[in-house]
């Protein structure tokens, strides 16, 4: 346990809805335990605001253990705050110093419109998945698991890609608001496994087309997404998506 409670100044983005202009609002917080998570600190702020009869800050959260991908705060210029490989709910106040000023903004991208305050609409991701991020399986008896041998390396790479929780930190941090890390992870997790092969080249074309239609930016290979991803999704996935896309468009005879 850490000792000594902290006094903090928060600058939080408040925005009524997508049709109104938002602004950063200052809040002073006293007696924050260093062992609180960042979201618990926001709970304290909100209880404070409710007691005062003010509107609490709206923010996304669900599991609070780093696996659901709901929390989404842009903290001091970085998604999920200053620590690597953690989501905002896994970030503790001991990562900050007593007296710090912390700026908290929502994910900013045309494809992620602000719903209210720190909550953005990430359904663009859902539509990208719906465009092709699945495998079509006929019903019937489940096959024996060992009937489709998969090399360990391949299985591991697919699993690493599947670790993506779809939080959108990659889009939020990319200077171009590009969604290529997310889309490439969702393509790779299937492209690496035998079950994903029949629809492999159709999938990459459909999902990339949907990604473009949603208004995400273009990738310029800065690598910011990989550095900020709470699940450590690798840029190799983007390279794999680029390869698959080229194969689909210039080699495969299947068109969508």
């Amino acid at each position: 346990m850490s000792t000594g409670n902290m006094n903090l100044t928060l600058k939080v983005w408040r925005q009524k809805n997508n049709n109104t202009k938002g602004a950063l609002v200052d809040y002073k917080l006293a007696g924050i335990s260093p062992d609180m998570s960042f979201l618990e600190m926001f709970d304290v702020l909100n209880e404070d605001l409710i007691t005062k009869g003010e509107e609490p800050v709206v923010f996304d959260h669900d599991c609070r253990e780093g696996i659901c991908g709901m929390c989404s705060m842009f903290i001091n210029g970085r998604p999920h705050g200053p620590k690597d490989l953690v989501t905002t709910c896994q970030l503790h106040m001991r990562s900050f110093k007593d007296g710090d000023t912390i700026v908290v903004e929502p994910w900013r991208a045309a494809a992620f419109p602000v719903v209210k305050d720190l909550t953005v609409d990430r359904s663009a991701f859902d539509r990208v998945i719906a465009a092709g991020g699945f495998i079509s399986v006929n019903t019937g008896n489940a096959q024996d698991a060992n009937s489709l041998p998969i090399p360990k390396m391949q299985a591991d790479a697919a699993f690493e890609a599947a670790a993506c929780i779809g939080c959108g930190a990659c889009v939020a941090t990319c200077k171009n608001a590009s969604a290529m890390l997310f889309v490439s992870a969702k393509i790779s997790q299937l492209a690496l496994l035998p079950q994903g092969q029949p629809e492999r080249y159709r999938r990459v074309q459909s999902m990339v087309a949907q990604m473009d239609a949603e208004g995400f930016g273009n990738c310029t290979n800065t690598g910011a997404c990989e550095a900020e991803c709470p699940k450590g999704i690798s840029l190799e996935n983007i390279a794999r998506m680029n390869r698959d896309f080229a194969s689909a468009k210039f080699v495969s005879e299947e068109t969508i």
């Binding site: 600058k11 983005w13 950063l24 842009f74 001091n76 210029g77 970085r78 200053p82 700026v103 903004e105 900013r108 991208a109 045309a110 494809a111 941090t173 200077k175 171009n176 608001a177 590009s178 290529m180 074309q205 990339v208 087309a209 990604m211 473009d212 208004g215 995400f216 930016g217 273009n218 990738c219 310029t220 290979n221 800065t222 690598g223 910011a224 550095a227 900020e228 840029l235 190799e236 983007i238 390279a239 794999r240 998506m241 680029n242 390869r243 698959d244 896309f245 080229a246 468009k249 210039f250 068109t255 969508i256």
Partner: protein, 226 residues
């Protein structure tokens, strides 16, 4: 939806266009730096003028020049196009954005570095290309070849021009440092067995090419070569 046009106008297709034209320009710089390095033979530019004469008269090179300009224009056009799209993808910017925490400054500044290079290119083409192709090189050397080396010596007599050339080669170095490796990633050539080689080649290529080019005005101005 089908067809190559459709593929090339998608976000990944545009990346491919940037990557392919980028690699093409990278290869061109090797030829350019190689031939220009003939001035370091310090033979009053005689060998260099032979090289320049060949480049100016050989029909394959002359045809290649059109391809080069086309590649350059496509690279610039696509860069502007992508930059506009990327700005649209984030209409509201962050109040605080800590880019240095997760990426190199030059990877985020390719547009700025590229714009500087474009300004340089205009000056550079006016200095040498327009002279050798259109207005004419005034003198001939001892072998009777057009003396492009003399033009170089005259231009690099101006300290402001020399300083500008050297400074802009720094921007070339950083542009290449990101662009070289980035082109490989774009083409999907990301492989654990080759990534080290690509990264190493990227750093060495960028530094060697930029230093070679920067040394040319410096060497002429300081009289390091005659």
């Amino acid at each position: 939806m089908s067809g190559f046009g459709n593929a090339l106008s998608s976000s990944i297709g545009r990346k491919y266009v940037m990557g392919v034209t980028g690699i093409f320009l990278i290869l061109f710089l090797i030829v350019h730096a190689g031939i220009n390095s003939l001035i370091f033979l310090d033979d009053n530019g005689l060998t260099f003028n032979v090289g320049a004469h060949f480049m100016a008269t050989n029909w394959i090179i002359r045809a290649g020049e059109y391809v080069l300009f086309l590649g350059l224009l496509v690279h610039i056009y696509q860069a502007i196009n992508l930059t506009i799209q990327n700005k649209k993808a984030r209409p509201q910017t962050y109040a605080v954005y800590n880019g240095s925490a997760n990426s190199k400054w030059y990877s985020r500044s390719m547009g700025l570095l590229g714009t500087l290079l474009l300004i340089f290119l205009v000056i550079h083409l006016k200095d040498f290309w327009v002279v050798s192709r259109f207005t004419g090189i005034p003198t001939v050397d001892a072998n009777g070849h057009e003396d492009l080396y003399a033009v170089m010596r005259e231009k690099f007599h101006d300290p402001v021009r020399v300083a500008a050339y050297v400074l802009l080669m720094i921007s070339l170095c950083y542009h290449l440092l990101h662009g070289f490796a980035s082109a490989f990633q774009t083409m999907g050539w990301n492989h654990s067995k080759y990534n080290g080689i690509i990264k190493g080649a990227s750093v060495w290529y960028s530094i060697i090419i930029s230093i070679l080019f920067a040394l040319m005005p410096i060497a002429v101005y300081t009289g390091l070569i005659n």
